[in-house]
Structure formats: C-alpha cells, structure tokens
Symmetry: D3
Subunit: 264 residues, 6 copies
C-alpha cells in the first residue's frame, strides 16, 4: 500500500507543510501539487468545493507525492466516508466541541471494530493499492478542529478520544468564539497561551498539533514550538496576493519589490 507521507514525516520528528485547496478544479490542484507541499487539503467547508469537483481534484493529485486530505463541511459521517473512499488519506473535521463529537468523527474514519466506517473503498483502492483494506485504519489520519469555546472547555476529554491523531486549530473561529478581535496569526498573550496549552495537551498524548496560519513567519514560529502540521493561507489567497503584487508593481502603485510582498 502507498504509504502516508505525513505519518512518515511525523515518525521522523518533522513538521509537515500543508497546502490548502479552495480553487475548485483539478488543474489548480496540480499547480499546487508541483510546489513542494507535503500534503494538500481539499477544503470543502469554507472552500467553494462540492463532492463532484472534489473527486476530480483528488484524481488530479494522485500523481503527486503530496498526501491528499480533505476538510469536510461538517461532522457528518456520509461525507467523511465518501471523501475517504474517494482517496483521502486523512480528514480534518471542523467544530469538534465535545468528546461525543470527537468519537463520532473518529469512528467515521475507522473500520470496525475501531469505528463504524462502512466498507467500500471504491476509488481509494486504485490510489492506495489493493491491500488498502488491511492498512486503512492505521493509515487514515483524523484531525479534529479545536475552534470553539466549548472545545476548550472539553479539551482534555476530546484529546483522550481513542484513535484521534491530533488537532487542527482554526485561529479565526477560536478567537471569535472566545471574544477576541484577532482573526489570523494571533499574538494576544491569552491566545498564544491557549495555543501552547493545546499543543502541550497533544504532545503529552503523542498527538499531532496542527494550525492554519497566514504568514511564513507565524508558520516558522509554531514549527519551532513543535507543531507538526501547518497550513499557510490557501491557493486562492496566494494567487490573490501574487496577482495584486504584480498589478500594483506594473502600475507603479508599489515602487519597491521588498516592501509589499504580501503576507506570504
């Protein structure tokens, strides 16, 4: 079976740099796949991507080395299982706020007796190999998004969920849910302390800590802290920044290159 590159990176003690796919076409996915990301996540929650398009994006990703993941729209077993059958090697689930929700999520990612995933690896068997069924439970990654006040209250219970591989922090929702003004790359001491606390809880249990960031600097900072999975912006945001920078420089809005290179 084709190995999960993320698991290999993590076993080697490394941090994975994840790309975020919101442009809904396989060609955009191929462009991203050629740039060196360790994994690529099809964002079906806030990205304008439905199932029929997500499928073609996963097909386009299959010839790259980047591990394919999906963020599902909601903690709903139907779409989680569909994305796994479509070829994802991991699922990021939004808005996991209670241990029950965490169990429901993780169970959807695991075949019995570890979970309640239904058997039918229709497309993923072509991607992974014919022995997918034997190894799926050890290969598929389940990351719960910690991004609500309720999740913070239930943090330890969520992290104790058997089979959970780690958490993915959504800073915008988390800050909003806790009443802070920051949306990305939080610097408020309370929020920084909270991220550290989450990471500490993960580390203690051997879980992965992941986070969505909006700048290279913040990415490096959390990696230095020991986070093992970091996403920077998204394909659409990267495109916007690069395009705006090019237009502004041609039009003379921006005079010097170094000054306005954008957030990435």
């Amino acid at each position: 079976m084709r190995p999960n590159r993320l698991r290999q990176i993590w076993q080697d003690g490394g941090a994975a740099v994840n790309g975020w796919l919101q442009l809904p076409h396989g060609f955009a996915a191929e462009v991203m796949a050629a740039q060196g990301w360790d994994s690529l996540t099809v964002d079906m929650q806030h990205g304008p991507v439905g199932y029929d398009v997500a499928l073609t994006m996963l097909q386009a990703l299959s010839s790259s080395n980047a591990t394919p993941l999906a963020r599902v729209p909601w903690n709903e077993p139907g779409i989680i299982m569909k994305m796994l059958d479509a070829g994802c090697y991991g699922i990021i689930c939004p808005m996991v706020s209670t241990p029950e929700e965490a169990q429901r999520f993780v169970g959807a990612c695991r075949y019995p007796p570890k979970g309640y995933r239904s058997f039918g690896p229709t497309r993923v068997s072509f991607y992974a190999g014919s022995d997918y069924a034997q190894h799926a439970n050890d290969t598929v990654i389940a990351l719960a998004m910690i991004e609500t006040a309720q999740a913070i209250d239930n943090l330890d219970a969520i992290l104790d969920t058997p089979g959970l591989d780690g958490v993915y922090i959504g800073p915008a929702d988390l800050a909003q849910g806790l009443g802070y003004q920051e949306r990305v790359d939080p610097k408020h001491p309370d929020l920084v302390a909270l991220l550290d606390r989450i990471h500490e809880g993960c580390s203690r249990r051997g879980l992965i800590t992941g986070i969505h960031v909006a700048s290279v600097e913040y990415a490096r900072g959390v990696i230095d802290k020991g986070f093992q999975f970091v996403t920077v912006l998204s394909d659409g945001r990267l495109l916007a920044a690069a395009a705006k920078h090019a237009v502004d420089r041609i039009k003379g809005v921006v005079a010097e290159e170094g000054k306005a290179a954008g957030p990435y």
Copy 2:
C-alpha cells in the same frame, strides 16, 4: 451599453494591464478579478479551458470592472462567435500569419456589412445591455497574434486589415518560429528590434500593440515604449510562484525574502 474599459483606457492614451486566466473555474476568475487588472483573458488555446467552463468564468467575471476577453484555440469562426455571444468584449486570435487569415478573423468579430458574424447575442446582451447589437461592431476588440515567421513576412499586409484593432505578440512562438532560443521576455537584439518594428507598424496605423511577458520589469519596459496592452504570466504561474515561495521559505530552502521572489 456597458462600455469597453480597454477602449476607454486606450483613448486616454493609457496602457492596459491584462490578467491571463488558465485556471478553469469561475471562482479562480473572481479571485483574479478582484486584484486590479484592467482586463482578463480566458485562455482557451493553451489554458485547459473548454467552452462549457469558459462560459461560467465569463459569468463570474461579469460583476467586475475588468473587461472580459478570450484567446480562442484557433482562427475558427464557430468558437470566435460563441465567445462573443458568451460575453467577451474582445478576442485574441492565435497564429495569424497572412492577411487572408486576418480578414477571416476580423470578419468573424463584426456583424455585416463589416464582417460575417452571425446575429444572436444571447448572453452578451445581459452583460452589455439591450442595445448591444447597435454598438457591438465598435465595442468588440480584435487582436491578431503575431507569432510566426510567416506573419513577420506579411506584417504590413496583416496590419492593413480593415477592422483590426491591434496585435498581440506571442514571444515564445515568435522566437521559436524564427529559430531563437529565448522563450519569454526576449532580450536578443534581433528580437527586440523586431518587437520595435511591430510596434512601429501598429503605431503608424493607430493600432494597439500588445504582448505577453513574464516579469514586471519587462512589462514596464514595453509600456515605456508605448505598448498599450500587456499580460504578465498567468493565474496558474502566479499561483505556482507564490506557493513555491511560501513553501521554500517555511522549509528554510530560501532564507531571505528579497532574494527569491520569483519571476513576477
């Protein structure tokens, strides 16, 4: 009728900065449309875009101020007219090498008696307004690509084509066709002289000179020379550069920001 912004820019003596759409989805088009381009060209020749998708891209562009254009796959009246009916305010036609080809191209863009475009502005009437038919011949822009050795031989005859609005230079094909090694942003004196000669021929006749470039610097250079229409890279190339830059910097492949900002 909604005016053609490009014609307004040109009447004011300005140069238009054009974006190039090869990512085949309307959401990618919307991302580009928000970055300040004066016009956006759906590339149906080398971009992986067929008609059914190009249509949805034009629909997504209609709420922006950027003038929508298309580069068609070939000098073929069926697709030229379909793209005009779909809402394009201009057509870039590849590989125009003879005055007959130029006439065939321009004629497809003009209603009788100026051309042989068939009447049926099905979607464009929603974009342009109900008086589209009266103004279409004066609104639609026809740019012939000059990119073959044969086109250079026939340059004056092509530029004399009635109704032609200007030329669009494809440096890669032109250099290859003439036997030079350069592909983008040509600096070889022969090629630079050739670009100047094309521009001089256009200027003398009141035609627009356009060109595809791969860097901000080259874009500024040709604008300084008087070119009035310049495209830099494409959405896919901008995305690739921005993504690679972000990954490399996070992974420490690139240490300093200024050094490897990519081609744009």
Copy 3:
C-alpha cells in the same frame, strides 16, 4: 459592504417579489435576474440543484441587483454555512417544526456570539466587500419554513427564536400535513385563517411573513394582507406554462389568447 436589498425594501415597508430558481445553470439564473425580481432563491431542496451547480448560479447572479438567497435541502449546518460562504444573503430553511430546530437553523446563520457559524467568507467577500465579516450578522436573513402540523403547534415558540427574521410558508406541505386536499394557493377557510394567524404572529414580533404562491392573484392578495415576501411559481413552471401556451396556440389547441394564459 453591498447592502441587502430585501432589508431595504422591508425597512421601507414594501413587499419583495422573489423568483425561484430550479433550472440548474447560471444562464437560466441570468435570464431570471434580468426580469425585475427583488430577490432570487436557489432552491436546493426540491429544485434539482446540488452545491457545485448552485455555486455557479450565485456567481451568475452577482452582477444583478436581485438579492441572492438559497433554500437548503435540510436544516443541516454544513450546507447552510456553505451557501452563506458562497454568497447568499439569506437562507430559507425547510421543515422547521420546533424551537430547537429554529435555534439550530438561526445559529448556523450567525457568527458568535449570536450563533455558531464558522468563519471563512471565502467567496461572499468578493460579492459583499471586504468588510463582510463586520456586517454579516446584520445582513444575512434567516427565514424558517412553517409547513408542518408540529410547527403550527409550536408556532409561538418558533417565532420567539432570537435572530429569526421571519417565516416562509410552504402551503403544499402545510396543507398536506394538516390533512387538506389543496396544494397551492389555499382557499379553504381553515387554511386562510391559519395563514392569517401566522402572519399576525410575525407582525406582532416585527418578523417578515413570506409565502410561496402559484398565481399573480394570490400574490397580490397576500401582499395586500401585509405579507412582505412572496414567490410565484418557479423558473421551470414559468417556462413550462409559457412554452405550452405557445405550442398550443400555434397548433390551434387554444384559440384565444386571453383564455389560457396559464396560472401566472
């Protein structure tokens, strides 16, 4: 931020005439958008429209003044939030029968602390403007469908749901659920009394009353009663009626124009 035209109409004491989109393509949406509707609702429940197509319809609608809404297939947060992120300025939710369901629905439409909507206005920011996040909670309209016997039992409790903007009456389901034979434009005194009772409950709380009707006459009647949001038929039904009328008249099945103008 682009204002919500429906809220403006309602603040001026007017009634909005809403179009219903079941033809699953952006071009059909553009045809409808040019006919003077105040708002247009993509019907994802009974209309044959899935997410990937709904997205392109919303893109096609963005250049019109009609406010874009969606009726979601079910009271499920994943699709409600996806449609808001895709550009809808309001959601019509079917089959809201209890105050808990109403809260679950309204909460999905509101960012914290008013609700539990997740943050990521990926496409809607292009439609609304970059200040969308600040104004979203006051802009997005949440209309609960009242169409079951249970909803009638719980009417006051549903209408008391904080953040609910109004109700949308589905006469077919409501009549069926209560055991009446009428499907559209109910005239049975019990049903008329029920509509009045719903409207009275809304008016008392400053909520909007909306309804789906099948004729111009019924539309005018409910507007005269004070309903502020009325949908007549759907694009598919209007097309069917117009086409049948044309065919019948050409074939001589219908002799006089006035007699068989169809239900609208």
Copy 4:
C-alpha cells in the same frame, strides 16, 4: 429503429412546431420536452451550450417523443458528426452560402457512399436501436440555414444539393446581411417576397422550408403559407417573457392581463 417523428409529420403533410433549447441543462430540456413540441433543437451556435452539456441534454430528451436536433456552431464536420453520434436525428447548419458548403454539410450527415460521415454510432444506437446503421442515412435530417446575401445569390444551386432535406431561414442574419433593419418576423415586402421565393424553391424540389419566428402569429402565418418547420423564440426567451409578465403584474406595472402577454 425508432422513427423520426419529423419525417412522419412531413409525410403526412403537416408542419412541425420546434422548440429551441438555449438553457444549458438537461432539466430545462425535460421541462420543454413535456410541453408538446414536435421536435427540440439544442442550439450550440448562439445558445451557451458546449458539447459536454449538449450530450446531457440529449440524454434527458430521449424519454420524450420530441425529435432531437442540434444547430451546430459552424459548418464543421467534427461537431456535426459528434452530435449525430450523440443522438441527434437532424442537424441545422448555420451560414450555408454556397453549394460547396451545402455539400460539405450534407456529406457530414451521410455515411458513404452518400457522404463522408465516419462510422461510430456510440450513443445514438441506444436511442435509435441496434439497426441504426442501416437506416441512418434515411433518418437523419439535414437543414441548411439560408441567412446570407451570398446564399440568396446561390439559392438554386444550394437547393439542388443531393441529400439536403430543406432549409432553415434565419431572419435576423438574413435581414442584416441584406441591409434591412428588421430582425425578427420580417414584414418588409422585399423580405416577405424573399421568404416566399425560398419557400417556392423548396416546394418545387420537395424540400422542407423552416424558419425561426418570434411570435405565434408569425408562426401561424408561415404555416399557412406551407412552411413545414417553425421555431418560436427559445426556452430562454419564453422564460424571460413569462417571468417579466409575472413580476410586472404582481408589482402592478401591468394592470390587465390581456395587454402585455409578451411576444409569444
């Protein structure tokens, strides 16, 4: 083999009422197919319909009795043959102006020795039956559009083309090409005389005369003259008229029903 309903109508001396499909989805096609049209034409020239969508429209039409036709974007054998293989029982070809063009068009619709159509009835065999190959040449209808000044000059030579089944008049292009202001339902004596002359030329040779009209009255008029194939408006135009009429009447813009029933 499933018979061609149009040929049956014509053999019985009748006139066929044809619907025009420009809304690019099979569901819109199904709505139209249920309204009594004798045939339905997928308009790939001025309708915003590409091949991949046209295919699904033909599939949706296959359960109806209406004969499926296509108007191709241009007189190009690739798309003509693709549409026949996809299930069309007839092709309307735009802008046929010379006998050579007519032969090129008709030849693309006929298997050798009558033409040069390539063999591969992949989908049409499911629609037509397994004996399609034997009967295709006698079943497929080839209608050349007469809509240019040049076509009028060459009228007799075009009509003499072996295998041609008839002509389809495009009044808008024809009037424009000849310098008249009228676009639809021409009433200028010169144009009326021209239509009569075309029809006379067809009748003499046993060919069908078809035309695109914009009103029921004009349709009846040409049928009374002996035209055997008439299209009124299009799905999009019918939808627009019905929707505008409904909105205007609800809003009180139009007071009385009979007055503003629109063009159909």
Copy 5:
C-alpha cells in the same frame, strides 16, 4: 403514472436483478440500462457520485425500462428526499441499525400522514407522470441496509417498521462488523445462517430480501432461497474484469478462455 417495475416483479413472485452504478456519468448508465437489468441503483455511498452527477444519470436512465433507485450516502432526510424528487422509485439506505433509524429513513420516503417527506416532485413528475403525488407513497420502495452487529441485535424491531419494503444486506460490512474475514459471497456457516435468518424474518412479514453479491453463482443461490432482489458487482467491477480479461488474453497471460473469466 409509470408503474414501478420492481413492484410488478415482486407481485408476480419473481426476483429482480439489479445493476449497480458507480461510474459517474449518464452514458455509463445508458450502457448499463441496455443490458437487461430490472433495476439500476445509483450508488452515492461508496460510488464516486455526488448529487449533480446523479441527477444526470437518472435523466439518462429515464428512457429505459429499468427502475431507477439510489443508495444514499447516509440516513439523512435531505439527500433521500432530493433523490426521490430527482426521479428515484426507491431508496436503499445504508447502516440502519435501530428501529428509530429505520423510522427516520422510511418517514423520509413517505408523504404525510405516513411520513414526513416534503412535497415538491419537481423532476420525478416528468418521469412518473402528473399523477405522481397520488401514487408516490405506494410506489416508492424503501430498503434498509442490514449490515451492522447492532442491526442484527435489533433485527425484529427494524423489520417491524411500518412502511418498510424490505432489507438490503451488505455482506462486507456485516461480516466485518461481526468479526468475520469474508467480505463478499459469505460461505461461513454462521454468516449463511444469519442471511437465512434475515430472509426468514422478511418473508414472515411479506418484506423483500435483497443482497449484494460478487458472482453469478451466489446470485443464483440466494434467488433459489427466495431472495427477491440481488445485485451483482457494479459497473466498475464488471468493466475491470472484462478489461483485464481482454488484456490478459491478448498478452497471453491467460491462455484459455474458460479459466479466468473473472468473478461474474
């Protein structure tokens, strides 16, 4: 109203042979529809099929005699009702493990007072006829998948669900859930006994027993036992087996025809 062929077969005491559609395009569905299956099920759970594509598959199936069904991704009313409105004459629901789940499933398939299906037979009325609403509750088939250990525990209670038409056994999930190694065509005595027990429970109540099998022999075996609904493999599996067999025989990997005909 168009009758449900499956109900007719069952009333005559016959067994229906069902095809399984996982290739996500209407043309693949048409190929399958021409091969003699009594019904065809669009598999939206393990098949890579989302709603927008499933719709076009159902349209393509409408001209065949095979009854269209869908297996939905999960027991969720939104998608169940959407598929019924899209034209399905029956729903197979995965992972029904409790009587509450069975009621929730069956209720979504039935209009009040028998269930809570919402009224809006938008497309299915074209397929079924204009009297669909009157007959829908008696026409639509609801089959619950029995495939978990919990379902076995609750077997009698599930089978007692009013309105349930029968069960569909998923052998792979069932074996996995009970801890057996077999995935298809179970031969272990415990599993065979379990299938017999399920069938006995169905027969006693006049319910249909259906099952997914992987070979013609197993299909015949269960039909001999009295099962009335059997699916063999899927379109993708049949294609794979036929293609591999052809390649292997051409390449000489397989010498004799009879030996390696694959599982079907």
Copy 6:
C-alpha cells in the same frame, strides 16, 4: 522527462495493447488504467467526450503507467494542440485521406521547425516534467487513420509524410468506404489483403501499424502479422458485454459459462 512507454515498447520490437475510453469520466479512466493496458486513448470522435471532460480523464490517467493518447474529432489544429497541451503523448487523427491532410495533422503535433504547433505546454509540463519542450517533438506520437477509399488511393504519399509515426486503421469506415458489408474484424480476402498492404507500406518505412479490433482472436492475429498497436473494443463495449453476460446468466438465459462469453 517521463518517457513514452509506447516508444519503448516499439523500440523493443513489441506490440502495444491499447484501451479505448468512451465513458466520459476520470473514474472510468482509472478503472481501465488499472487493468494492464499499455496505452489508453480518449476517444473524442465517436466517444461522447468533449474537451472539459477529456481534461479530467487525462488528469485521472496521470498516476498510471499507461501512455495517454487522444483520438481527436477531426483533423483540426485547435483541438489537436489543446489535447497535447492537456497531457497526451500521442494523437490519433481520423479520416486522413491525402498527403496534404497528413502534413496538416503532423505539423500540428510538432513545434517549429518541424511543424507549426504553438508553444504553451501548460498542463503537460506537470505530467511530463519541466524539460518537456526539449523532448516533445521526439516524444509525441502522430498516427493517421487510414479509413477512406481516397486514403487507399493516396497510401504511399500519406506514408511518406515526414514526421508521421504510423497509421491507425479504422476497419468499419474503411470497409464502408470501399463498399464491403463487414464492419469489424474484416475477413473478406480483399480487405485482409488491403490490411496487409498497408502494413507492408508501414513496415518498409519503419512506421507503426495500428488497428481497432473487436475480438481477442483478431487482436492476436494482427499482432502475429507484425502490427504494433492494437485496440480491442472500448470501455463501453467491454462493460456492456460483461453486464449482459452477468444478467443473462443470472436470469438463466445463458446456461453455461463458456458459451456466451461475448465478443472479447
């Protein structure tokens, strides 16, 4: 650059077994790609496949070892170049009947100075590698279909076309064009002699002879004669045969397995 597996097979003196893709979705392509074909051809002529879908099929094929080819709808440079840019390593061109047509076809496949292909390897560079441009002319395969009486008359002149890699025989068109009744796997001595003559002409010039066949036996026969490229049936035909065989055997229409294995 990723090598062209077909060229490797041919250099080793082998024959390639080619699969034929007419089912218009990438998942069907993936199913086929896993069965051992040396190459897979997207059939855009008689297969119901347009560009936008063909693109996604090529993306799905990129993770397999099978060389991707396309048969284009017609000898038209626009679509030939689009398919090469989309990732095809070879083009099969229908209906090549004269040396001029052959030159036009081959020229579209080759960059200057060998041809007139336009430069812009947008997607193929991801598939092939960044050095695609240097090797493209030596990698891309150009196969002309010999399938008309005129082509037989011009056989030697066609085969002398510089840059042509070989021919692909379409037996159905060829037999039809010459007036024979056979459609597939021709056994008439005249046709067999003609195939031999074509093959002899190819062999003498070092060109490849390819052919479309309908049975394993015929495939083996032509390979024994020295043909180096053979296609058997298509995905749709293989699926149909396998499905019909399964249904018939379950229903008892076919009693014994060996008897009715279908044409493959």
